[in-house]
């Protein structure tokens, strides 16, 4: 039906314009899409292809290697998999993803959304604004807030001292927990809003019917609400994972990847190899790992969206 209308419309469009070509829309489409295609090809698709290419070269930022790029085959990947710091980085990335994205933002976001359901509108709005404030704040300011909050003489230790506990050097003793909490603080609002939107779509009558049939609140949640919002949980999980995978600024500002390698996730490791040690080829090989994980997750994301195009 829709297609019929569309073809009809195209005919109207072409006849009124008076072109006698077979399909004037084809040429017009190409022209209209050209600017975006050029930009995407040079600055988006190009770099992705370059990632694959540079990963197999000995590209360096300075010295003779900077002039003559040589093809070195799998050498970067061999040294990468032999490099114990790479393995540590992969582990750190998994821990960061798991704690801050999957456990933190997802569960806290869902908890907030479900608790805020049908509460006093003013209260709901107030909590919403506070949580969203952390999301609106730029990543670098989020890092400042948390450095100040967790510092030796920061607010958290002040509170601990006030209730008679010892100060803790959070950023040195628990660096990973610290960056995870900061990332949760920054990202939870997104999950909360996604879940609020999908929870609003659950028809109230179904919940009521289950309650009348004697289901407890927990049963309604597990048996009715969760299955109905399953789709948005999956989509949100992939999206949040992708966002967290790319987190650089927050960790770079808060801990710089340290102390030692304790918060050196893949983006930080990639930065250090490429721009601190000047090994662009090696840095690109690391970014290829990030990219491949990103590509796989993105494909799952598209599948989970079930969009009609």
């Amino acid at each position: 039906m829709r297609a019929d209308v569309q073809t009809q419309r195209n005919q109207i469009g072409s006849s009124s314009i008076g072109k006698k070509k077979k399909d004037p829309t084809a040429l017009r489409s190409v022209l209209f899409l050209l600017p975006s295609w050029i930009l995407l090809l040079i600055f988006f698709i190009g770099p992705i292809l370059l990632t694959f290419y540079f990963s197999f070269t000995n590209l360096a930022l300075t010295g003779t290697q900077a002039q003559n790029i040589e093809f070195v085959g799998f050498q970067n990947f061999v040294s990468m998999f032999e490099d114990p710091t790479f393995r540590i980085s992969v582990m750190k990335t998994i821990v960061f993803l798991f704690l801050s994205a999957i456990v933190g933002q997802q569960i806290l976001g869902f908890l907030l959304a479900i608790l805020m359901k049908e509460k006093n509108p003013t209260f709901r709005r107030l909590i919403g604004i506070i949580v969203i404030a952390g999301w609106v704040t730029p990543e670098i300011v989020v890092a400042f807030c948390w450095v100040a909050f967790l510092n030796d003489n920061g607010t958290l230790n002040m509170i601990l001292n006030a209730i008679g506990l010892e100060s803790i050097t959070w950023l040195y003793t628990f660096p990973m927990i610290s960056v995870c909490i900061a990332n949760i603080w920054h990202g939870t609002a997104f999950s909360m809003m996604v879940f609020q939107a999908s929870l609003d779509d659950v028809p109230k009558t179904i919940e009521e019917a289950a309650t009348i049939d004697g289901a407890s609140r927990l049963q309604v949640l597990i048996r009715i609400i969760l299955p109905m919002v399953k789709g948005s949980i999956v989509t949100n999980m992939i999206l949040v994972t992708l966002q967290t995978l790319g987190v650089f600024t927050l960790i770079f500002t808060m801990t710089g990847g340290g102390p030692g390698t304790s918060t050196q996730t893949l983006p930080i490791f990639m930065y250090n190899q490429a721009f601190v040690n000047y090994q662009l080829g090696y840095g690109t090989a690391i970014s290829l790992v990030l990219l491949v994980i990103g590509i796989i997750a993105s494909l799952f994301y598209i599948r989970s969206m079930k969009v009609k195009i």
Binding site: Q6, I12, G13, T25, S29, F32, P35, S36, L39, L40, I42, F43, F44, P47, L50, T51, F54, L112, L115, K119, F123, I127, I132, A133, G134, V136, P138, E139, I140, V141, C145, F149, N151, N153, G154, T155, W185, V194, A197, R217, T235, L239, L242, L245, G246, F248, T249, F252, T253, M270, F275, L280, T284, S287, L291, G294, S298, V307, K308, I309
Partner: protein, 274 residues
Amino acid sequence: MNRFKWERTIPYVILSIIGVCFLLPLLWVLFASFDANAQQALTIPEEFTLANFTSILSEPATIRSFVIGLFLSCGQALLVVIVGVIAAYPLSRYTQKYKKPFMYSILFMTSLPITAVMVPVYQLFIFLNLQDSLVGTMLFLTASGLPYGIWMLKNFMDAVPPELEESAWVDGASIWKGVRRVVAPLMIPGICTVAIFTFSMSWGNFFVPYILIQTPDKFPASVTIYQFFGTYGMVEYGKLAAFSIIYTLPAVILYLFSQRFMSQGFSLGGATKG
């Protein structure tokens, strides 16, 4: 009856606790920025002062970095909207066989982490002789924002009834004029949403200009605030907080402004409107 009361109050208690936890780190910036001798710990200022703000704003280098930041972010938002609307038109109005794979690749690109391509992008910029170029950086940022922009604008354009332009064509308007005079004005809310979102992402972006721009005179606000933190961060808390507030303000104002357009709710960035 007692149990019923409990069930009603517990959510309020939990939400209040979470709310306080979310509020505490933020309060420090607010208080410290007005405090003449701000410390790391949260304290209510003994005397309120605007000195931190005036000293940050009287620094010409800071003002310049804000201007550069605005140039990058506004330029990017503008380019994404213009290029995006042009690209959205055939995707929304015509049926072509490449449309489906194209839209899928756009959707695919919206979710790829930009961090992963920054090393080759740096190399590409050297190759194209664009390193240290603000316009080059803006073009890269535009490309990184385009997939989301095209996706959203196509969906917003789908909502504009084609009959309206058709009557404009009958009156002798060209396709391009129809887009400019009829379609674009009708999707102002959508255009604003995309522009605001693009601006905020770009304004908060530290990594891209940090890699692509080398001359300190060309740093946008996101990079100068990082430098300020590195140099004075552990001494001048009040000024750092004031700088942070000024830097955060555009994002907050635009968010509040965008709320007017996002009344339909937050269904995964509007992407579910097939």
